[in-house]
Symmetry: C2
Subunit: 378 residues, 2 copies
């Protein structure tokens, strides 16, 4: 294998596939990046066996040469060293050549690195994903849907299925749901698909987080292929594979109250800041529980009291309030997460009494919904 | 105590004095910030008993009211909570009032905090520093002198005196020296002083680092007062006290070779980047030792070899080279630290053989000097 490549493109691709490489793997070769040079270009692969990322650098793009292939071939290089090296090379172009015994030379200007490589034949094969069933989502919408749900996955391995986000595709609508059993985030969107296939899968939250970091903020569509055990995201020159979680995701529809007893509309930013301050003195380790109650004249009060430190009272003027008086306690952290996930300057909260889950939504928009279970303190 | 104060000024002052507050203190009241309101303004104090910082906010500045004192007095508030609270307050002005039993109310807009305070009388008194002997240094020069020396202090407590920077004032010249016994940094500058006093003190490296963070990048002069056990830096509305280290600093003058056998001038950035790359594959934990040798035609080679990973060879063209051929090994980390501390596009290195300390300087500038002891590997 021997090729000359533009440094900035190599750096970008290495950075992308590094997202899948873990230093804590039980399969030593997975601490490496696989490099394959063909007549068409150079393909880099990183994997931790849960997530695999493949980045392709074509020999030519828009008539400009990016890679000059001198000899096809393949090698696996230590990801940690290789990524540091390419970032710091002195010139705009880099030559990579495999000599005998997998010894690889990296040259740029007057810098010459010799790295001990590994046989690419020993690198695990990527999952085979058949592509007859796929659908497409604009990349920026996908990133938004991930951002608005993934924070609600469980971080505990007690119920592994809850560490993933439930993706359902039904009637050409994609529904993403995450819950850690104390709160729930739901986001749905109409999508384009050639088939009427329906899916119900659970994608690890970690995979979605990594995917989100790699994808550019573009409205270009990304193709999504779902199989029994894998999901594949196909962007330009990029393949992102993730395993799916085994097991059935709980049915969350019955958790969402259909009726409400107290409804209010609040300014998102003002309410978020009040909650943030009210939680400052709240005890740690309990997700900063704050008290919330309705007062006269459309005012709501957020408060917390930790006798050894002090107390805080925040008053917030609602834009609109209807229904019963209310005293309730909830996690300030969950409320702040939910408010940050919602878009728009106003939010609507619907309560069904102090002991029932409540809903936070954007008014006049049923594509997104955040649900929080209250904490019993009153 | 009761006053109304501009939030941004309070936030800035709290941030400054927080630099001295440690959560790991054996004196509980030092986890607090002391607030004193007088007719002239508000003074905040933070201290970890090694460093003490006092920030003064005057009632008026340039004809603009900053503080309105309603009642003089004092209180100590938990630094961690107080600093978080003031940063997040909703309005541009803040009212702080002490009620009975040191209970303190902080109001801003519709936010109201009640914090349990402590009696300011129980806060330790700051060191008394007599000011008849002082000298002045432009603030930006002081920050540069700190930056160019403090990184060389020892991080080990084996010889506590080496964790400080030796400051000597003689013949109206300030000399700052730091060494961890493997390398040494020296910077000197002519300064203005009213007296012909001379000093020889050792200031903890940590104190100088914290001081540097607080000081603005300005050419305004800062006044420095040195006593037997304390140093006081006086900037506008800011007092920074540090204890001095006990003991005699070693005489470092005889460490610095007066002659050299091999001299060279190199482009600073090019050499720094070559060292950086050469150290990438060098073994960790040994400060990344690299080999350095002179080749033909004014070229020097920097290399390292770690059999299990690979090797790297870097060639750098010198601007000028005179004297004997040389093979030497040294810590890449120390070399990079030294190169970063030097200003200018070119540096001069003077070697006196493979086993002797060598000097790195800016050509034609004797105000700064970096010295490194080689490592025996050849």
């Amino acid at each position: 294998m021997k090729f000359v490549i533009q440094k900035d493109r190599l750096v970008q691709s290495v950075q992308d596939v590094m997202k899948a490489v873990s230093s804590r793997t039980t399969i030593p070769i997975l601490t490496g990046i696989k490099i394959v040079a063909t007549e068409e270009g150079v393909t880099l692969t990183g994997s931790d066996s849960d997530i695999s990322i493949e980045s392709f650098i074509p020999t030519e793009e828009n008539g400009k040469e990016i890679v000059e292939i001198k000899q096809t071939g393949s090698i696996v290089l230590q990801a940690r060293f290789f990524s540091e090296i390419v970032k710091k090379l002195p010139k705009e172009s880099v030559e990579i050549e495999v000599l005998g015994h997998h010894m690889t030379v990296i040259r740029s200007g007057k810098a010459e690195f010799n790295l001990n490589g590994l046989d690419a034949e020993e690198y695990p094969h990527l999952p085979q994903v058949e592509e007859h069933n796929s659908f497409r989502v604009p990349t920026d919408l996908l990133k938004t849907m991930i951002r608005q749900t993934v924070f609600s996955v469980s971080t505990s391995e007690t119920r592994p299925i809850l560490t993933g986000v439930n993706w359902k595709l039904e009637n050409r609508e994609l529904i993403c749901i995450a819950t850690d059993s104390h709160r729930l985030a739901l986001r749905k969107a109409k999508i384009e698909t050639d088939t009427d296939s329906s899916y119900n899968v659970v994608i690890p939250g970690k995979s979605l987080n990594e995917l989100s970091k790699i994808l550019a903020d573009t409205s270009d569509e990304i193709e999504i292929v779902i199989t029994e055990s894998q999901v594949l995201f196909k962007a330009e020159n990029l393949l992102f594979f993730s395993r799916l979680l085994d097991g059935n995701y709980p049915d969350t529809t019955r958790l969402i109250p259909a009726e409400s007893k107290t409804d209010m509309v609040l300014n998102t930013k003002e309410f978020l800041q009040a909650i943030d301050r009210a939680s400052l003195l709240a005890k740690e380790g309990r997700n900063n529980v704050v008290k919330f109650s309705t007062l006269e004249e459309g005012i709501v009060e957020v408060s917390s009291n930790t006798p050894e430190i002090g107390k805080v009272i925040e008053e917030v003027q609602t834009q609109e309030i209807t229904g019963e008086e209310l005293k309730i306690s909830f996690s300030a952290k969950y409320m702040m997460d939910a408010l940050k996930a919602l878009e728009g300057t106003e939010i609507k909260i619907s309560f069904t009494g102090a002991m029932r889950p409540f809903l936070i939504r954007t008014p006049e928009d049923d594509s997104i919904l955040q649900l929080i279970l209250p904490v019993r303190t009153y």
